[in-house]
């Protein structure tokens, strides 16, 4: 999954979280919202529900706070699960530096591994076709090692991870363009 897909997914996760948070306040609001606002609101779920919030607050505030926290936790879990859909991480030419936008996702993977000690992950390093095959094998390994270290620092344990480098042998995309190369310089996480 590429970066723009990641952002889209992230936006989706946020709106899902909002729905969950609001609907927990009671059935009446939902009815009211739908009844009063049908024509004014587009199909995006978030704003529809937002309009009906708090008006018919029949529950106690304590109850609502607890539910809110629960919903937030659920939303956070959903967000992490959505982030964990992302299992491919990209690199610049001849580097093994983890990009800033990958860190949050990798932390989510690390937490998941920490929470599931029986889960193992195979970390596969790749390089683009440019340069020599043997150097690229070592470069792919360096990338895989960088990701492995990051996962371990953030909670995964050493026994859960395994690395392998394929160098330039298993491109994700065929071709000799900048865009193909960019998609081939990568590490893939394979959960087992």
């Amino acid at each position: 999954m590429n970066v723009s897909a990641h952002h889209k997914l992230f936006a989706m996760v946020l709106s899902l979280g909002l729905i969950a948070g609001c609907s927990s306040t009671g059935e009446t609001t939902e009815d009211g919202a739908y009844g009063s606002d049908v024509s004014a609101v587009d199909q995006d779920g978030g704003s529809t529900v937002y309009g009906g919030d708090d008006d018919g607050g029949v529950s106690s505030s304590e109850m609502s706070e607890e539910q809110r926290r629960e919903a937030e936790a659920r939303a956070a879990r959903a967000e992490e699960a959505a982030m964990r859909e992302i299992t491919t991480f990209y690199f610049d030419f001849d580097t093994a530096e983890i990009k800033a936008e990958a860190r949050e996702v990798l932390v989510a993977h690390a937490r998941f591994l920490q929470a599931n000690p029986g889960q193992n992950v195979r970390i596969e390093g790749h390089a683009d076709e440019r340069g020599t095959k043997e150097y690229n094998l070592a470069l792919g390994e360096r990338r895989a090692n960088a990701i492995e270290r990051f996962l371990i620092v953030n909670g995964a344990s050493r026994g859960q991870t395994e690395t392998i480098s394929y160098g330039e042998e298993k491109p994700a995309v065929m071709g000799s363009s900048e865009s193909a190369w960019a998609q081939n310089r990568r590490v893939e996480l394979v959960f087992q």
Binding site: E134, Y135, R142, E169, M174
Partner: protein, 446 residues
Amino acid sequence: MGNQMTNRSTTGTTPTSMAMTWLLMLMVMIGSSPAAHAELLIRITEGADSAIPVAVVPFAETGQIPSGDKVSSIVRDDLTMSGEFKPLPPEKMLSLPSSGDEVYFRDWRLLGQRYVLVGQLTRTGDKIEARYELFDVNREERILGATASSSVNSTRSLAHHISDKVYEAITGVPGAFSTKLAYVTLQRSGGKALYRLQVSDVDGKRARVRLESDEPILSPAWSPDGKRLAYVSFETGKPAIYIHELSSGNRTKIADFRGLNSAPAWSPDGRSLLLTLSKDGNAEVYKMDIQSRSLKRLTSHWSIDTEPTWDHTGKGFFFTSDRSGGPQIYHKSSESAEPRRITFGSRYNARPRPDNDGKYVYYVHQRDKAFHIARTNLQTEEETILTRTESDESPSVSPNGRMLIYATKQGGDSVLTVIAADGGAAYSLPASEGDVREPAWSPIVE
């Protein structure tokens, strides 16, 4: 003088001999194609201006000679491939002598020829004997006269042998036409890859598959006696180094450590391998004694150290390291010496291959966005870019130091190209289908 030659190609693996000796993963098959497979074709892309004009006269024939592989045409092709000769097309010849007493030097001088090769082939039973003579046209002198023989099925070996002798008589350097190439072909279809390790004549003919796998095969390297190949295969799902004896097809997995097992290179005495392992944390160069499997670590740095190869003394070695930021070529004059950086011309120089007399080291060199083959003169430290193609990889020097083969891209496919080692003439050896990569030129074996 009688030059008896043996035909090495008959010592290859037969499918029956190996079927029983192997216990292999399902996807790996060895020697599955006993006959020629995906033969490479030579395409001449460029000639050298300084090429020496030589007339190879069609040989006279006595008895039933197989017509498929004309000995004199193969000799002509070999000499052309070297980039150092410009053979005269037979249709331009004024006469077709087959022995010295029929050679009229004046005719050949008129045609601008420096040398004339004449000969006769005689079949006796299953044997073919060649009697051949080489003349220097200007000096009106015979400079070579010899006989050689082969089985009736291996006239190609006979022709390459004659090419070697002619080449040596004229240049003073042994010819390398009887040597072999090892290379890897790759076909992809429907997301599946098929890797084949093949061995062929240097002109791409008589190719035979030695190992087939749907996982990567990399870095074939010839033993100094030309009898074994070391290579990297991912057939078990991860990289391991194997030694493969060509005559029997017997294989030994000799390095299967955690992490990288890559870039094998034989020592000149054939007793040890240099290889790259990352079992201690990151890619480092090690020496493995083949008999005892004992390891000695030869580099120690947090950077990538890989692609080792012994220098001509057999005491020091070249390797690639990115300890300066990007990959560069380094040399250690002994196993314990401090590494000395060899390349400075650009930010990416990798996979060194020295010649046999310590004069040059060849490597992959990035300039702007292109990857070329370059060489550095080790005495003067002068660097020369040898290729004009732009995605060049895997240089391998011929054992006589006169030719260089490398892989490059042509219309999306990877092809092999042969050039003169000084960057002169160029010949492509395109695969009939898919990629052909990682050529390794065998040593000269008598």
